[in-house]
Amino acid sequence: MAAVDGRRGIEVSDGALIPARDDKAGFSAWRISFFGAIGLLIALPLISPKPFWDILRFIPDGVLRTFQVTVFSIVFALIIGLFTGLARISRIMVLNRIATVYVEVVRGIPLLVQLYYIYYALGNFVQVPRLTAAIIAMSICYGAYLGEIFRAGIQAIPKGQMEAALALGMSRTQALSRVILPQTFRIILPPVGNEFIALLKDSSLVSILAVADLLRRGREYAARTFEYFEAYTIVALVYLVLTLFFSKLVAIMEERLGSHHRSG
């Protein structure tokens, strides 16, 4: 998922939504898509309020639910990912193996299958709300991907950093938390941002568990009115605006953190 590119940062091959800093073409493509989508979201209800305005009024609940799933999942996935990444570089063999197996298993199963599986597997023991099951499944899945990003990020820090910290008398834990991880967070920000955006998109899968997210709300509307095309047009545009907005946000944050000193 993520490959380490020297000490400057991490290159991610898929989901390259985040515009590169000096990629002027990418930037203008972003502008066209973002403002185009917003323009359509404003224009369509104005031109024909009948289906489009109704649809727009019907889906905000879904947007909220989508956010809820995304934000909770990314927070838990980050926590899982941090510990997975640390376990993957750990010298304690048992931890290392558990983390590696976890990553392999999760990466080998489609998210859709995991969602079904975790929902029904959990259902055998406890009655969890669908939303909770969905968040657990998304966190477990993305925790594995983020674990790999953390691992690559930690390993991208030059060996001399750990050595300098140890030579000053720090414990490994101190060296990790005060020297290595603060540097890791900076370089993994872009790939983590990419994962966040990927998660936002993948969160649409939770609609199969009847979680009333953005996609599900669109389908509910369409099922009543049979205006499938119109409903999904709005759903697609809203997803597009959201992902483009967040990719821009990530790009800005990346630029702010790109340099160690606060410039200006």
């Binding site: 050595e163 300098a164 910290a165 140890l166 030579a167 000053l168 008398g169 414990s171 160690h260 000193h261």
Partner: protein
């Protein structure tokens, strides 16, 4: 800890660093093949030798960044190679300066100096801050306290790195080719700091081929080749009348 209570006269009898028959292998590569040496308190020892002769490995074994395959090392009375030694206690007293500086890039120069004393020795903020200012002044970088490493030249970074090591108040300083990564015009500013340190009586082990520094500050020069100490003596003797053929050939090469 009890060793620290021994009166100075008795402590002087114990070398600051003692290496006894050190062997180190990296897989098939033998980096050290039976190195023994002593460094007395206040002594400045220069280590020279061709690339790959084991100089770094030897130096890094003193604070256990490398673990020996066999042999023993002591710093004062504490055994570095002891199975139950808390190596962190020894590392607090042994400062190290690296060829690549290895400053922490996410911290300012002052923060680089403050970090270890505050989290390792639990010194108060006032104390670590005051000491950081004093040490930065000593290496001539008072005005760079708030600069991040990437804003500093190589020479300035290395001077901050020396100050960072000194912030732990070490008894011994290890230098592994401290000027090799520097542009020529910056070498002097770093050597001057090291020279001051030597004059003030710091015990130093320095891997370097800076002849000027050797003549000005070194009490003893050790020539290593292929994981062994070939020859050791005062700088004038090693440089002007080396006894071994390998030493002669090496010196012809670098002089």
């Amino acid at each position: 800890m009890a060793a620290n209570q021994v009166p100075d006269t008795a402590a002087a009898a114990v070398p600051r660093i003692r290496v006894e028959d050190a062997h180190k292998r990296f897989g098939d590569v033998v980096a050290l093949r039976g190195v023994s040496l002593e460094v007395q308190a206040g002594e400045v020892v220069l280590v020279i030798g061709p690339s790959g002769s084991g100089k770094s490995t030897m130096l890094r074994s003193v604070n256990r960044l490398e673990t020996l395959t066999s042999g023993r090392i002591w710093v004062d009375r504490q055994e570095v190679t002891g199975r139950h030694t808390d190596i962190r206690l020894i590392r607090e007293e042994v400062g190290m300066v690296f060829q690549a500086f290895n400053l922490f890039p996410h911290l300012t120069a002052a923060q680089n100096l403050v970090l270890a004393p505050s989290i390792v020795k639990h010194e108060t903020k006032d104390r670590t801050q005051a000491r950081a200012e004093q040490l930065l002044a000593r290496v001539g970088l008072s005005d760079k306290a708030d600069a991040y490493p990437e804003q500093l030249s190589g020479g300035q970074q290395q001077r901050v790195a020396i100050a960072r090591a000194l912030a732990m108040s070490p008894k011994v300083m290890l230098f592994d080719e401290p000027t090799s990564a520097l542009d020529p015009e910056m070498i002097k500013e770093v050597l001057d700091v090291m020279l001051d340190l030597a004059k003030e009586g710091m015990t130093m082990m320095v891997v370097s081929h800076e002849m000027g520094f050797a003549r000005a500050a070194a009490d003893r020069v050790i020539f290593m080749d292929e994981g062994e100490i070939v020859e050791t003596g005062p700088p004038s003797q090693i440089f002007e009348s080396p006894t071994h053929e390998r030493t002669k050939r090496f010196l012809e090469h670098i002089l």
